[in-house]
């Protein structure tokens, strides 16, 4: 029995290792080739670089205007997530503190709107926002709030069911108003949910391509995903630069993942299952 268990443990670890290596292989190829010269990528695609060089990185860094595109991605992601955390937790708080037909109706309205795929509103969205001259970053943040609010409201609402009413009541009797209660008592209690909301939305906005490609039309405001097309234009494809650019583009997220892995994985699984 014990030997049996030991064998199966070894088999599991071995197959897991093989699968992990397989999973990692595409990234390994990208990283190793990004350290080769343009010529070497043609002759030696699978091996390690003969004499590794960081020159591609320097060129790619400049070509994708990294500081600027990073800042652009960050600004959009940060402010969208901030607005979403505030607005959706407030909405969920209201829905949870005024039970009844109206709140149920609004809640199911949120659910229903989740079924609308982005493609069905893409064209009119551009004409609505274009007609008021809002095809810019503020417009983009409002769009994200509209697109992301259903999911985040559900997450907050679920958490608020576990926050007893008595807490509010005690403070109401003490003379606080609803905004104070929300800000000082309720919102801090919702921290675990806020982390989940931040994780799922930040990943979405950081990586998003289609919507920013429609909304943002100034080169200086391009986010990282938009900038990647510099390397993958119609005519030129310089793999040595492109690969370095790809590595630079995924590096920030890998770094964040290493530090916040537990929160990210937990946030993703909670966001999916709820």
């Amino acid at each position: 029995m014990r030997i049996n268990r030991q064998i199966s443990k070894t088999v599991f670890i071995l197959s897991g290792t093989i699968l992990s290596l397989l999973w990692f292989y595409p990234l390994y190829l990208v990283v190793t080739n990004s350290l080769k010269t343009k010529a070497e990528i043609f002759t030696n695609k699978l091996g390690l670089p003969a004499s590794p060089t960081l020159a591609n990185y320097k060129d790619a860094f400049l070509a994708m205007d990294f500081y600027r595109s990073f800042a652009n991605s960050f600004i959009i992601t940060f402010f969208s997530v901030l607005v979403i955390c505030i607005c959706t937790s407030m909405a969920a708080y209201a829905l949870s503190r005024r039970p009844g037909k109206l709140s149920s109706f609004i809640y199911f309205g949120f659910a229903l709107l989740m079924l609308v795929p982005f493609q069905a509103i893409m064209i009119p969205l551009v004409s609505v926002f274009g007609s008021v001259d809002m095809l810019n970053r503020v417009g983009l943040i409002i769009m994200y709030l509209g697109l992301a609010s259903s999911m985040s409201v559900f997450l907050y609402f679920g958490a608020l069911r576990g926050v007893p009413q008595e807490l509010d009541e005690a403070s109401l009797i003490d003379g606080s108003n609803r905004f104070q209660i929300y800000l000082y008592i309720i919102f801090p209690l919702l921290k675990p949910t806020t982390i989940t909301v931040i994780v799922i939305n930040a990943l979405w906005f950081w990586n998003d391509y289609l919507l920013p490609s429609i909304v943002i039309n100034k080169d200086g405001l391009y986010t990282i995903p938009l900038k990647m097309f510099y390397f993958f234009g119609e005519y030129t494809k310089q793999w040595h630069l492109a690969l370095a650019g790809l590595v630079i583009a995924i590096l920030p997220i890998i770094i964040v993942y290493m530090f916040l892995q537990k929160h990210i994985v937990q946030g993703i699984s909670e966001g999916a299952v709820k």
């Binding site: 190829l29 407030m90 990586n207 289609l210 790809l246």
Partner: protein
């Protein structure tokens, strides 16, 4: 859907209910955004789908013409078929691999468990555009290297034919989403009480039997969730498609979302594109409703 939003704990004394004005103030930002971003565009979109529209001006009301045209549009129909095929194959693949990985990393293998999870989940953090470009390199150059090394024609000429374009996209989606689905399966697997598994082991069940007889039936609710997520996510793929093949060769790997995008922003036939988008929405809704119905039914039967 949850039949009762407000369990007993939330029944409030009337005086303690949130005041009507405060209630609306708390809800206003979200509701306004929903109106401007989804409800109004959605209503406008239905209207546009019955018109000739170029993005600035509605030229004519054309009734059902756009819809009729869409159903006669061979390229659009092909993109719908391609989308369905990609989605079908990758949903099955993602769930099989995801469940397999989840079972693997929930065995008692100590620290390896976390390590494996980290690796399998990693691709899910990378955005669709970057994923598409990474795999473009793998299929064009990496596979070329493997072909030169092994001489196997299996590795030759990827993304240059409709078939390799199809499998290329499927492989990309498997790599991207299996780890995500794995996380979901893990959270359900860990919820199965240890005693249940242990009892079955004491009764003489091996790993295989413990899975099929004990875990699998208890996993019914997670299939509803994971199939729903993979189905709707794969159906709506755009970025990966765009970066991997851009629909080529000759539109043979164009997904429905890309066909809609091209009709709208390259041909500028917005009314027509909108009709296609509505058809697309109806198809997704029908497919996911069928899926929910079937898996719910299965949940009850088990």
């Amino acid at each position: 859907m949850a039949p009762n939003l407000y369990p007993n704990g939330l029944k409030v004394v009337h005086a303690m209910q949130m005041k009507r004005l405060t209630y609306w103030m708390f809800l206003a930002p979200c509701l306004l955004a929903l109106f401007v971003v989804i409800i109004i565009p959605f209503a406008l979109g239905i209207y546009y789908s019955f018109t000739k529209y170029n993005g600035f001006q509605v030229f004519a009301f054309v009734g059902l013409d756009n819809y009729v045209d869409a159903f006669l549009d061979a390229r659009f129909l092909r993109s719908l078929w391609f989308t369905t095929a990609v989605s079908f194959v990758s949903v099955i693949g993602i769930n099989l691999i995801g469940l397999g990985l989840a079972l693997l990393v929930t065995q008692s293998i100590g620290k390896f468990s976390t390590l494996f999870r980290t690796v399998f989940f990693l691709p899910n953090l990378i955005g669709g555009i970057i994923l598409g470009f990474i795999w473009q390199f793998i299929f064009l150059k990496g596979f070329e290297g493997l072909f030169e090394l092994t001489g196997l024609s299996l590795f030759n000429g990827w993304l240059s034919t409709p078939g390799t374009g199809f499998w290329g996209l499927v492989i990309l989606l498997l790599w991207q989403m299996s780890g995500y689905i794995m996380i979901i399966y893990i959270s359900f697997l860990l919820n199965i009480p240890r005693e249940v598994i242990e009892a079955s082991v004491i009764d003489g069940a091996n790993v295989w039997q413990a899975f099929w007889r004990v875990k699998f039936p208890l996993l019914a609710p997670v299939f509803t969730v994971s199939l729903f997520l993979t189905l709707s996510n794969t159906f709506k793929v755009y970025d990966q498609n765009m970066a991997l093949t851009k629909g080529g060769p000759f539109h043979s790997t164009e997904m429905a979302t890309m066909n809609i995008y091209n009709t709208a922003f390259q041909v500028n036939d917005m009314g027509y594109a909108q009709a296609k988008a509505i058809i697309f929405m109806v198809i997704i809704t029908i497919i996911t409703l069928i899926q929910l119905y079937l898996t719910r039914k299965r949940e009850i039967n088990l």
